[in-house]
Amino acid sequence: MILGRVAGRIYSTIHHSVVSGQKLLIIDKLNSAGERTGGYLIAMDSVGAGPGETVLVLDEGNGARQILEDKSAPVRSLVVGIVDGVHVP
């Protein structure tokens, strides 16, 4: 899983059925210090993350399909958590 920050949204009406009714979030990838690494990805939201929130993104297809309970879902990135704090000793 990776750390990310919600940086925007995608609105789409023509798409694969798995996206129906789902929110597509633009996620800035963060390093452990919470700084943007310059990378981004588009993830489906499964926890109701809002703009600017630091989130946990699962970036692996099988895990995403398990969560979505759909063996043929073409989804790799899924927001699976909202992060309250990051502690790096």
């Binding site: 940086a7 925007g8 609105y11 633009i26 600017g52 073409p74």
Partner: protein, 93 residues
């Protein structure tokens, strides 16, 4: 998933079984700001609706193969959907 822009189409004369009739699009991968981000590649278009000039979002590897029906056809990039609108938060822009 990542952003891309359809820059052309491609008509294969001979194609692997299961891929008949699947539109093949030239896609230029984009970064978050919509600038070119790497060399263009060919995407299979499961939506069959994306045309040149449109912004799309695409998937790679196994997820690409899963967008098509029957899935597990040999494609490594595929269009998941067409972007109607995009909202980028100021701070994140």
């Amino acid at each position: 998933m990542f952003l891309g822009k359809v820059i052309g189409t491609l008509v294969p004369a001979i194609v692997y079984e299961g891929l008949e009739g699947v539109p093949m699009l030239w896609v230029q991968p984009l970064n978050k700001q919509g600038q070119d981000d790497g060399p263009p590649f060919v995407c299979a278009d499961g939506t069959r609706m994306a045309g040149p000039g449109e912004m799309i979002y695409w998937e790679a590897s196994r997820e690409a193969a899963l967008t098509l029906d029957p899935f597990f056809v040999p494609v490594d990039h595929a269009v998941v959907g067409i972007v109607d609108g995009m909202q980028l938060d100021e701070e994140g822009a």
